[in-house]
């Protein structure tokens, strides 16, 4: 079990949320609570960088869906960056890899 650590920064293309640790049943609420504090403007990308993510369960998937909705409601788009293989496998089973934009790393994702 790892704690969830999150940090946000702003880039030219939009906010970047870095997620480290476990995005699971216990921690996903923190992620969900953080979303409303992140402003996504029309045309911007909300990049969620999962490079340091250790574990993601179905609650974590729900949190990512909430992030997708949050970005869309602001007129922007969610981009997942540096998704670990085990999480990518889950995203692929549930079909979200076809719906969400996934980039290998956050530099590409932010267009930097």
């Amino acid at each position: 079990m790892n704690a969830l650590k999150m940090s946000t920064r702003d880039t030219a293309s939009g906010p970047v949320l870095e997620v480290a640790g476990d995005l699971d049943y216990l921690n996903a609420g923190q992620f969900r609570d953080l979303l409303p504090t992140i402003t996504v403007r029309p045309g911007q990308r909300l990049v969620v960088d999962l490079g340091a993510l250790d574990f993601c369960d179905s609650s974590g998937i729900t949190a990512l869906i909430a992030a997708h909705h949050h970005a869309q409601s602001g007129g922007g788009q969610l981009v997942l960056a540096a998704v670990p293989a085990n999480t990518l496998r889950i995203l692929s089973i549930v079909g979200l890899d076809q719906v969400l934009t996934i980039h290998p790393d956050s530099e590409v994702a932010t267009g930097a």
Binding site: S58, S59, A66, L96, V99
Partner: protein, 435 residues
Amino acid sequence: MMARAGQYSDPHDADDDKTAQAAFAALLEDSAEDLYESAPCGYLSTLMDGTIAKINSTLLGWLGLARSDVVGRLRFTDLLTVGGKLYHETHFAPLLRMQGQISGIALEIKQAGGGRMPVLVSSVVKHGTTGEPLLIRTTVFDARDRRAYEEELLRRQQSAEEARRQAEADRARLQDTFAVLQQSLLPDTLPELPGAEAAAHYHTASPDRLGGDFYDVFPLDGKRFGFFLGDVCGKGPQAAALTSLTRYTLRAAALHDPDPVSALTTLNKVLHERYSAGGDPRYCTAVFGTIDPDPDAGRLTVHLASGGHPPAVVLRADGTAAYLPTPGGLLVGVLPAAPFTDASTTLGPGDTLLLYTDGLTEARTGKDRTSLYGDEALLAFAATQAGRPPHAVIEALGGLLTGFGDGLDDDTALLAIGVPSSDDQTSEDRTSSTR
């Protein structure tokens, strides 16, 4: 208080000291007689036969009697209630005779107005110079406050008892409700399939938690059957409500249009409409399919579609097992329009289609929660069961689930549909559901 004032007054302040000592002396002048009569407890002296020889005003006041009615006329026991008399005879008097004293006995005295007053009684026998018992001295303390306190305790105890009974009744009623709801989420039995067999298993991770997995097999149009199996997100009552909505939507949608992609599309619309507004996305993964049996040919055709659900496994009579891929099907209820992927297969004698929820493939096989049972292990296990009829496959998988022990912390549903090979014994329980 006065004694303290004298004790602690400044010795150098002679005037104050004198005043305090005078007040203290005034207290000492209080007569012993007055002290006896007006004491904050009742005093009573009786002869050895109990005849009252002396009684103080305090006690007379409690009794509501005049001294002349009592002294030399009544015995101590005459002052007591019937229960008190009895207790006096059986316990109080014998103990007093034996020990020469007794203290703190709870009795009740009768009051002139017909009331009874709880008291605490202590007695001591006074002996003469030659050791013979002369009389009995008794003090009687007002125990009304203490009795009120005890009654309050009793009342509290009784109300706690009542609350406990109520809570137990509530719990029993909740358990009944719970059982009925649980039954509404899973079928009691699976229908008889012509020339085919269906078997299911449901593993509950926690017995007091309504399940988040679901399955069903049901007749569609007199010839075909519908089936589904899935997993809703979340846990607890919210998940159960979602399960219920999902299950009944799929059944109704299938009657309207049994095409698997259509049924899942209807479910997607319903779930998205129901849950998208609150900012709390709720969704499920599901496989929905139709069974078209052809008993004469000894085969059946399965047409299914998946929304975000792990692929079904087909176990063949020849001892092989393979996934029936349905890639790209999206979680149901997440987006207003969702893609679903369909697939078809034909099952002949000895072939079985296996559906499962991810409790199986996500079961932990090591201490690390990333060491999971996995797709490959499932396929390898399925191959060892290939050629066996559905109920045997389900039984073997049930054993596998049991073997995971604590590693299986999620609900798991299993559903197998197949055509038994001709050499399989037909059995009564071929369509039974094991839970």
